[in-house]
């Protein structure tokens, strides 16, 4: 893994300082070095590039398809949410892109980053060195989780910003119509887009905690990533089976698309709060499970 070479110059500095004593600031140093390691990795950059490419592809496809003046999407309203509105207002590309990436691309990249968080270190043989520093396992785990959450936010914002840029270049902007048929100003729409991006990032909290827990179970980074992504796909499939409707409200992906409720006027909060509550529950359950596992684990690598 390239991690060791890439990380060592940044990591040695804060860790050397830390020997003098544990201060709260030190946690930020750890977080900063974790963030730098994560975001300097080619793998992370490639994931972000793929995410940025999705809105570009959607935007160009819609532009080509509607070049002759017809409206986007099949007349009966198929395709991702909001796609029929893109030609009228580029801002809708943000919502369409998020709706298109949320079921798979976003959680998959979160699964890769979260699954790699602990297991990847163990695999590369760097985990024990991280623990030599007086950080404590709990603090290291929290830092790892915080890093994954920052990645969630960055990944979502990459999609949103890329979509907004493409939307602004290819399509007109301006006042927009909410899905309830009322009109809001462009500034209001932009605010809602930002809010939606935040909600989407928060929707990934559950997957992030799940990935981190899986990551503490194994010493193989690849195995942890594959397990997390596999679980993600399994849950998405189970969420489609009507016979399981009694269980479905407890699947972490069940309320993901509720972010579209922010585009109603007035906003319909029921499913949004259910989604956020469910994500918090997943974060608490799998976060504490990861803590129980990680703090009790023998670090052999």
């Amino acid at each position: 893994m390239s991690r060791a070479e890439a990380a060592s110059p940044e990591e040695t500095v804060p860790r050397a300082e830390a020997v003098r004593g544990v201060s709260p600031l030190w946690t930020f140093g750890l977080l900063r070095s974790e963030l730098l390691t994560t975001f300097r990795r080619w793998r992370t950059l490639a994931l972000l590039a793929v995410l940025a490419a999705v809105p570009i592809l959607v935007g160009i496809a819609v532009k080509i398809e509607t070049g002759d003046g017809s409206s986007a999407g099949p007349g009966e309203g198929g395709g991702p949410a909001f796609i029929s509105q893109i030609t009228n207002n580029g801002l809708f590309l943000v919502f369409t892109a998020l709706a298109a990436t949320l079921p798979f691309f976003l959680p998959m990249s979160i699964g890769v980053v979260a699954g790699d968080a602990i297991a990847g270190e163990a695999n590369a043989g760097t985990l024990r060195y991280l623990l030599v520093a007086p950080a404590g396992r709990t603090r290291l785990l929290l830092t790892k989780y915080a890093t994954v959450m920052v990645f969630c936010l960055v990944a979502t914002l990459v999609v949103a910003v890329s979509a907004l840029t493409v939307g602004a270049i290819l399509f007109p902007l301006g006042d927009l119509t909410t899905i309830s048929g009322t009109r809001i100003s462009f500034a209001d729409g932009l605010g809602r887009a930002l809010l939606i991006a935040l909600v989407v990032a928060a929707s990934l909290m559950g997957v992030a905690a799940l990935g981190l827990f899986v990551s503490t179970l194994t010493n193989s980074g690849i195995a942890a990533m594959a397990t997390t992504v596999g679980l993600l796909i399994t849950v998405q499939i189970l969420d489609q089976i009507p016979q399981l409707h009694a269980l479905q409200p407890y699947f972490f992906s069940h309320y993901w698309l509720s972010f579209a409720d922010l585009m109603r006027d007035p906003v319909y909060w029921d499913d949004l709060t259910k989604n956020l509550g469910l994500q918090a529950l997943y974060a608490a359950v799998f976060g504490s499970a990861a803590w129980a596992r990680f703090t009790a684990k023998d670090i052999t690598a």
Binding site: A260, R264, A292, D298, A301
Partner: protein, 417 residues
């Protein structure tokens, strides 16, 4: 990877003593406790929040009905949850192709046409938002997955907007009263369902007030309407009436056969504040497909509005009309036999009528046969189609008897007719 791979349990067993192992195991109590607390919260909070039935001054059924009649809520907004379970067989794609075929036949195929959209309310669970500000401005929105269908009445205009396909339906030029009438006919709010149910109250019905309930955070009386006739498939209708305003908040229709409610429509949230003016302000979005109602569709709009409120058509036999239409036969002149809950609508499809499987032919014919029960009587023979609420007898000579009554009553009516 392989050299680093280690099985933790074996190394733990080698190095750790029992006490350390226990301490480690104890950490797993935390996630288990979190799950436990969450499960308890999910289970208990609704039970705790249900603070019991409110104490309200006693009121007679007559007074309560007057209260409903006098109720004049001009400004309100709220969310209604409607569950309809007519016990129709799960037809899957066939059902939707039937209904879409039927609506496409009457409308022009625009997905923003109210007649096409409100048909959806007839099955399953839906969330509907309603807002009203006086007689001139109302809005009804059907919440869908990442989309919404809105029906907006503002002064002279009635707009339908389907956000999924970005298409608009517009009907203008009706005077306000007419438009209001139309608006009233279309949606299925507890209020409208209850008023329709009360119209059916006569000698054949017993009405009583049975306790109180909390609906959408408001104290309400429970009005129970029961048919006295034993032949009806309607078990009872419960209407929760807001104690302060007299507005019906929840409407539940349970079938005589027991089981889950056939129709359950109730507010989950309601506010009597004036909705924002922008709620009713609709401008056609850029690029939307607009369908103008030329006026000749008035009839079809009204007729199809009834799809949305199956409950209020009880005993009027309207579903029979729909059935007839779905089968592709225009209904002939319709008669109503009997009174009250046991009334049966009958009409002649003209000629050889419907559906023995072999006549209709093909897959569809076999399907029809599998749905119905063959019956014979003085009238000859026919097929009874059953749902949990509405039963229909279609005789082989093309007569149709429909009502919210059981099979025997239909056969008796056919024998008499």
């Amino acid at each position: 990877m392989a050299p680093y791979e280690s099985d933790d349990s074996t190394s733990a067993g080698e190095t750790d003593d029992l006490r350390a192992g226990r301490r480690k195991a104890a950490r797993y109590v935390v996630p288990v406790a979190v799950v436990g607390v969450a499960a308890a919260t999910i289970g208990l909070v609704p039970a705790l929040a249900d603070s019991g039935d409110p104490n309200l001054p006693k009121i007679s059924a007559q007074q309560l009905i007057e209260k409903i009649a006098k109720s004049d809520v001009q400004q309100m907004s709220g969310t209604v949850k409607i569950s309809t379970d007519l016990g129709l067989p799960d037809l899957g794609g066939l059902e939707s192709s039937l209904t879409s075929g039927a609506t496409r036949g009457s409308g022009d195929g625009s997905s923003a046409d109210p007649s096409a959209k409100l048909t959806e309310l007839a099955t399953g669970t839906h969330t509907v938002r309603v807002a009203a500000d006086g007689p001139d401005r109302q809005k009804l929105s059907l919440l869908e997955n990442a989309a919404e269908y809105s029906l907006i009445h503002n002064g002279k205009d009635v707009w339908g907007y389907d956000s999924r396909s970005n298409s608009v339906y517009h009907s203008a030029g009706h005077d306000s009263a007419d438009a209001r009438k139309k608006q009233e006919q279309a949606p299925a709010t507890p209020d409208q369902l209850a008023k329709e149910a009360l119209k059916a109250v006569d000698g054949t019905t017993s009405v009583s007030v049975q306790g109180t309930a909390q609906v959408a955070g408001r104290d309400a009386y429970r009005l129970v309407i029961k048919p006295k006739d034993t032949g009806s498939t309607v078990g009872q209708i419960t209407v929760a009436v807001d104690a302060k305003t007299g507005l019906p908040l929840k409407f539940t229709l349970t079938p005589a056969s027991g089981g889950a409610a056939v129709i359950d429509a109730g507010f989950t949230q309601i506010s009597f504040a004036r909705p924002a003016a922008s709620t009713f302000d609709f401008k056609t979005p850029k690029g939307a497909k607009v369908t103008e109602d030329k006026g000749h569709e008035n009839g079809s709009l009204k007729g199809d509005g009834r799809h949305g409120a199956p409950g209020k058509d009880l005993g009027k036999g309207m579903p029979g009309k729909d059935l007839g239409k779905d089968l592709g036969k225009g209904p002939g002149g319709m008669n109503v036999i009997g009174e009250g809950w046991d009334s049966i609508a009958t009409f002649d499809t003209g000629g050889k009528g419907v559906p023995s499987g072999s006549e209709a032919g093909g897959q569809f014919g076999g399907f029809l046969d599998s749905l119905g029960d063959k019956v014979t009587g003085k009238f000859g023979s026919g097929t009874v189609f059953k749902t949990r609420l509405i039963n229909a007898l279609i005789t082989d000579d093309g007569k149709v008897y429909v009502g919210a009554v059981d099979k025997d009553v239909l056969v008796k009516a056919a024998n008499a007719g």
